[in-house]
């Protein structure tokens, strides 16, 4: 089992790679389309801002290679948002793998933004590794639209899609690598087959 973490050259892929290291996986961090295509699992980690990340993906010539992947792909946090059509963040034109847009959360007195901390998941169906009511760790200021591809949500004044899936693409808005035992079980299921 070989895992590739897509390295677009910014931010905190540290905690993601360490989490997979703990699962005992052979892993490469790379921006090489061939190395990514030949991995058994691909992770698009959550880093920085959508506009910057998409510019880097385009500069590295990764847009089409990522869309063409057939093996299980997991987008984490920003990596999940990039799977959608478009993001409010810097008006980024995203990968368009899952229909829908990513919008900025509006802060209120009771709900500051970023949405930061442990929120409870409500599952819309079976999600391998997770149980309804599990707390997982979020840290984000933008969230994607609700829709038919959402497998689990959290509530933050509006519905926050927490897990989305379409075909071989899976996305987690929360940080499974920092979500305690629930997050680890979710990553294990991604690795061992969904």
């Amino acid at each position: 089992m070989k895992l590739a973490i897509v390295d677009v050259g910014c931010g905190n892929i540290g905690s993601v790679s360490i989490a997979f290291e703990r699962l005992g996986l052979e892993m490469i961090t790379t921006a090489d389309p061939e190395a990514i295509a030949s991995a058994d699992r691909v992770v698009l980690p959550g880093v920085g801002a959508a506009g910057y990340a998409m510019r880097r993906i385009d500069e590295l010539g990764l847009r089409e290679p990522i869309k063409a992947l057939k093996q299980p792909v997991l987008g984490i946090c920003l990596g999940m948002q990039l799977l959608f059509d478009r993001s409010d963040e810097e008006g980024a034109d995203c990968l368009g793998i899952i229909p829908g847009e990513v919008r900025r959360l509006e802060p209120t007195r009771e709900r500051p933004v970023p949405h930061m901390g442990w929120s409870k998941l409500s599952l819309h169906g079976d999600v391998p590794g997770l149980t309804d009511g599990d707390y997982v760790y979020f840290a984000h200021s933008y969230a994607c639209d609700p829709g038919p591809h959402v497998l689990a949500s959290a509530d933050y004044g509006r519905e926050i899609p927490a897990i989305v899936a379409r075909g071989n693409f899976l996305g987690a808005q929360f940080h499974p690598e920092r979500s305690g035992p629930a997050g680890t079980r979710f990553l294990e299921k991604f690795v061992t087959g969904l």
Binding site: N12, G14, I18, E110, V113, G117, K120, A139, R178
Partner: protein, 255 residues
């Protein structure tokens, strides 16, 4: 809100966990990784590690211990201490920290906040504020890691919090200096004022001595989290008991 966060804070000096009172007289209380594991097991929601002398000594924290922590824990953690440049921050995040907390360097050069928020996202950028009450208002102090170098910046805390969050800080850790280590409760009015001035999560710090103090700061000041050191290190309050108590009070806790 999400579940309110209980956040043990570990002061680090020369790669060891230390504890002082009102920022003075630090004594060694043990190994970083052992402490990190203990708090993870007890149900801490997040951890903060401060290299307390880094900023005053003009250096950045040592990323060696950041990686040692990242390897063993599966909850978020922030690191602080002399992070002055994009490269310092990148090294902390690259070694597995989830957030960097900046305090004195942000006061030296506020543009640092924008640079980090732009490249890493606001959720990675925590503003640490040491707030000191004087003449009926609160002012920001700098270089509080060293008794000799501590200085009053003359900046009003509320003004600085507004500016820093507009520049992109995604969270504020508000340390009320007069309350630090004295265990008489958080400064609820000041924390409330800062939470109202900021549209980002505010973490209360300084003064925790009893479970009721956590209840008050969550209920009255809308704090997203409460940070404490002594009461956890000295085992005066056990985190599972604290969470149980707060949940009974109707405050959402992750358990």
């Amino acid at each position: 809100m999400p579940a309110r966060r209980i956040i043990p804070c570990l002061d680090v000096k020369d790669g060891r966990v230390v504890k002082g009172v009102q920022f003075r007289d630090h004594r060694d209380i043990g190994d970083i990784v052992e402490h990190a594991l203990r708090y993870r097991d007890e149900g801490a929601d997040e951890l903060v590690f401060y290299d307390i002398t880094a900023s005053a000594e003009g250096r950045s924290l040592d990323t060696g211990w950041v990686r040692r922590i990242a390897r063993v824990i599966d909850i978020p953690f922030a690191v602080a201490g002399g992070v002055r440049t994009r490269e310092h921050a990148a090294a902390c995040l690259g070694n597995g920290a989830d957030k960097v907390s900046i305090n004195s360097p942000a006061l030296e050069r506020p543009e640092l906040i924008e640079e980090l928020a732009r490249d890493f996202g606001s959720q990675c950028v925590v503003l640490g504020v040491d707030s000191f009450e004087a003449d009926g208002d609160y002012y920001v102090h700098q270089y509080t890691g060293s008794v000799e170098k501590t200085r009053d910046t003359g900046l009003r805390t509320l003004d600085w919090v507004r500016e820093a969050t507009e520049r992109g800080a995604g969270e504020v850790v508000l340390n009320c200096m007069k309350k630090d280590g004295v265990r008489t409760g958080y400064d609820v009015p000041h924390t409330t004022a800062v939470a109202e001035a900021a549209s980002v999560p505010v973490i209360a710090s300084g003064g925790a001595g009893a479970p009721e103090h956590f209840r008050t700061v969550f209920e009255q000041a809308s704090a997203s989290g409460a940070l404490a050191a002594t009461v956890f290190h000295d085992r005066m309050i056990a985190i599972p008991d604290l969470k149980e108590y707060l949940a009974t009070c109707g405050i959402e806790m992750r358990r």
